[in-house]
């Protein structure tokens, strides 16, 4: 299933993905509410990316007592410019996990089980929020500004490719 990954080897820790994510979803630069984050240790320079693995994990969906985490069909197009060159992205069809805000009661079950720590209570609306792949145009990938390689990228598995060809 399509999901975003941050490469710990390629990421420089500039946090642009978090800024772009919050600009898209919150209309302001607010990395504390970004749907992904890059955990950087300043001393060792070690980086650990935290992103939602969508259906490849789905622990939030399993834990939800209210069926508020929905599986939604999505077509993802990686789009953007990269170091002056146009990013040639795949179009991938697959599924994404989204929060049904009408059904969500903010009970917190999913917050406790998420292995990457990327589903939380929204600071102003009393519901969970998570990565929804920006309706098919992930902003974190579009605005990754590593000067040499894409550090934030879309990962797909065999099932996605089969779906895309179908």
């Amino acid at each position: 299933m399509p999901h975003v990954m941050i490469s710990s080897k390629k990421c420089t820790g500039c946090h642009m993905c978090e800024l772009a994510c919050s600009a898209y979803h919150e209309g302001a630069y607010r990395p504390s509410v970004a749907r992904l984050f890059s955990e950087c240790n300043p001393t060792t320079a070690a980086i650990k990316g935290h992103t939602c693995l969508q259906l490849g994990c789905a622990k939030c969906q399993e834990a939800c007592p209210n069926d508020a985490i929905l599986t939604k069909e999505i077509t993802v197009k990686v789009k953007g410019e990269f170091a002056g060159k146009e990013k040639v992205g795949d179009t991938v069809r697959g599924y994404v996990l989204v929060v049904d805000e009408d059904a969500c009661t903010n009970c917190g079950e999913c917050y406790d089980v998420c292995p990457t720590g990327v589903i939380h209570e929204h600071p102003t609306r009393e519901v969970a929020y998570k990565c929804d792949l920006c309706d098919g145009e992930p902003q974190c990938i579009a605005f990754c500004q590593n000067p040499h390689v894409l550090a934030v990228d879309l990962k797909v598995d065999k099932k996605d490719k089969e779906l895309a060809q179908a």
Binding site: G27, A28, Y29, P31, V33, T44
Partner: protein
């Protein structure tokens, strides 16, 4: 409010209290942020002629309007104080992620005054400010340990601005550290933190910075970054970084060698870029920066960042050290202890010189790593030879009757460019508003790196020092003043036109290139007024850097001298071009033309 948070946090360490007040937006409109706004606040907040060590002498942390907005390299913080080393203004810049975190917590500036009765750490989580005793757990920790402690004890995402043992012992070149390797390095802000018994400020911000239409702004910044940041002009900093300057400066006779006794170093191959690349491991970026110039290395299993060029020059060549392993360890020691490497290397080189000249035996000799590697810790603790080295170059050289061996301007040790190899630097050092500094103007860019101006004449250089040479990428004092008000990093060779494009987003109006330069000139003149008010030494540099008898006898710049009369004449030309009188006092007409809103 977009771009600005509109809030200043005041911290009173004597009372253990804090208060929030509105940011002065009239000043922000005139002076932008960063350097300009810092100097305007300093004019108001520093009581005239105050002893910098007194509790009422503030340390001010100032962000720029673009910190936290994704504008490349603009995540820098400037720290300001009346320097205990120079007695004049000191603005010191630091990257990393502290300034954006401060903005996300809701503050454009933090003004710190008073003196805590006991060592203290101040934690700020959005609008909650707490004073936490630093004894016994935090006082005494090195910089990596205090940051780790803040992540453990306060907030996993805390960004910390701290002092190490050097600051605790009030060393006048103690710096402030953040993200461990990032230093507000020069002028002794760390010493004032030490005197105020402030070990660290740790901040966590969960709020937002607004920019109007965030998506449109992001898209325009991405265009600007792609067209103007991710280019050959800037990516040298990512690919090779400042170590590349080492060999260039040695070949040109510019690198200070063995306490400024030559401009070319015979051991350069041991510390040049080729040597550094062998120990280099990876690159990291400051917050919101596309370039990613932070070069990490590993020696003997220990990871560290740097050394950058100034350290290579002053702690390497200037100490006769031609071994990248020893140099990297010295650099790491200074980082952990919270010491400025330029002043540390300079005073060690002076002690080596005094030892070899038979004046006083400090057990330090040029090129010998053993004593050299022990020096930073001894200095930070003021123990053994460190007790004397902690005096700094001016006082140490004077104590032993050799003031001519101290290479400083206004009691700030000189960085890694010998003006005998690049004449323009002489004026740059003499007129720098914080003493011996290479960051106000950079004639090196034209005289050495670009080769577009002759390095062995001062003719026409006063003009270049003031206005730079924008076509060739050389930064002058006026332009650096507006660039550092943004606050953009030196490593983005941003142009006035690009600054105008970004300012337009913040102020919703057009800016001409002339206006961008004028803001810079306004800021520079404000700084001059501050220095005159506080009592600044005459603009000069160590005589041997321009006098005929001071010429080098070895290296690529051997035999060259500016000449005393030529140097003095160029300084007068500089004053005249600036609209200042023969003593460097700005005229009323100039201040009025620039719209400077204070007077002596």
């Amino acid at each position: 409010m977009d771009f600005y948070q509109g809030k200043v946090l005041r911290i009173d360490l004597s009372a253990g209290t804090s208060a929030v007040e509105p940011l002065n937006m009239e000043w922000a409109e005139k002076y932008i942020g960063g350097k300009g706004l810092l100097l305007r606040y300093m004019w108001e907040e520093v009581p005239p002629k105050i002893d910098p060590w007194s509790p009422e002498s503030p340390v001010i942390l100032m962000t720029g309007p673009f910190a936290g907005t994704g504008v490349s390299t603009a995540s820098r913080l400037v720290v300001g104080c009346k320097s205990p080393a120079t007695g004049i203004l000191n603005d010191s810049y630091v990257g990393g992620s502290f300034a954006p975190e401060m903005k996300f917590a809701g503050y454009d500036a933090i003004i710190i005054k008073g003196e805590s009765p006991e060592p203290v750490v101040v934690t700020i989580k959005d609008d909650v400010v707490q004073f936490v005793p630093a004894m016994p757990k935090y006082w005494g920790l090195k910089t990596s340990a205090i940051e780790e402690a803040m992540r453990q004890d306060f907030d996993a995402e805390a960004k910390t601005l701290s002092i190490g043992p050097g600051g605790e012992n009030e060393l006048v070149w103690a710096c402030l550290s953040t993200d461990q390797y990032h230093k507000a390095g020069r002028g002794g802000h760390g010493a004032l933190f030490g005197r105020k018994k402030l070990k660290a400020i740790a901040v966590r911000g969960t709020g937002s910075v607004t920019v109007g239409d965030a998506k449109a702004f992001l898209a325009d910044m991405y265009r600007i970054h792609t067209e103007f940041v991710l280019t050959e002009d800037n990516l040298w900093a990512n690919e090779e970084g400042t170590p590349v300057l080492g060999q260039i400066m040695s070949d040109a006779g510019v690198i200070p060698t063995r306490n400024w006794s030559s401009g070319s170093f015979d051991g350069m191959e041991g510390i040049n870029s080729d040597a550094f690349i062998k120990i280099r491991t990876k690159n990291r970026a400051c917050y919101q920066c596309a370039i990613g110039c932070r070069q990490f290395h590993e020696v003997d299993g220990i990871a560290g960042e740097g050394p950058e060029y100034e350290t290579i020059a002053i702690c390497g060549a200037n100490c006769g050290i031609g071994d990248i392993t020893a140099l990297s360890k010295f650099n790491q020691e200074c980082d952990e202890l919270g010491l400025d490497t330029i002043s540390s290397g300079a005073v060690v080189a002076l002690a080596m010189d005094l030892t070899e000249k038979g004046v006083k035996d400090f057990g330090l000799r040029f090129g010998e790593a053993e004593g050299y590697l022990k020096a930073p810790e001894l200095i930070s603790k003021r123990e053994g030879i460190g007790a004397e080295l902690a005096l700094g170059t001016r006082a140490l050289a004077a104590k032993y009757g050799h003031p001519e061996l101290a290479m400083e301007v206004k009691n700030l040790e000189l960085p890694g460019y010998d003006p005998r190899g690049s004449f323009g630097m002489s004026l740059g050092y003499a007129t720098s508003d914080r003493g011996g500094c290479h960051m106000r103007c950079y004639p090196i860019a034209d005289e050495i790196v670009g080769g577009t101006l002759p390095p062995d004449t001062l003719e026409g250089k006063a003009q270049k020092v003031i206005w730079g040479n924008p076509a060739e990428g050389m930064i002058g004092e006026n332009f650096s003043s507006v660039k550092f008000s943004g606050i953009w990093c030196d490593f983005w060779a941003i142009t006035p036109e690009q600054i105008a494009q970004i300012f337009k987003h913040a102020w919703k109006r057009e800016f001409s290139e002339d206006e961008v330069f004028q803001i810079g000139e306004r800021v520079w003149n404000l700084g001059r007024l501050f220095n005159l008010r506080e009592g600044v030494e005459p603009d000069d540099i160590p005589q041997k850097l321009y006098a005929a008898e001071g010429a080098h006898t070895t290296g690529a710049s051997a035999g060259r001298s500016i000449g005393t009369a030529t140097f003095k004449a160029a300084l007068q030309e500089f004053y005249q071009l600036r609209g200042w009188d023969e003593n460097g006092v700005p005229s009323e007409a100039k201040l009025a033309e620039l719209g400077v809103d204070v007077r002596l």
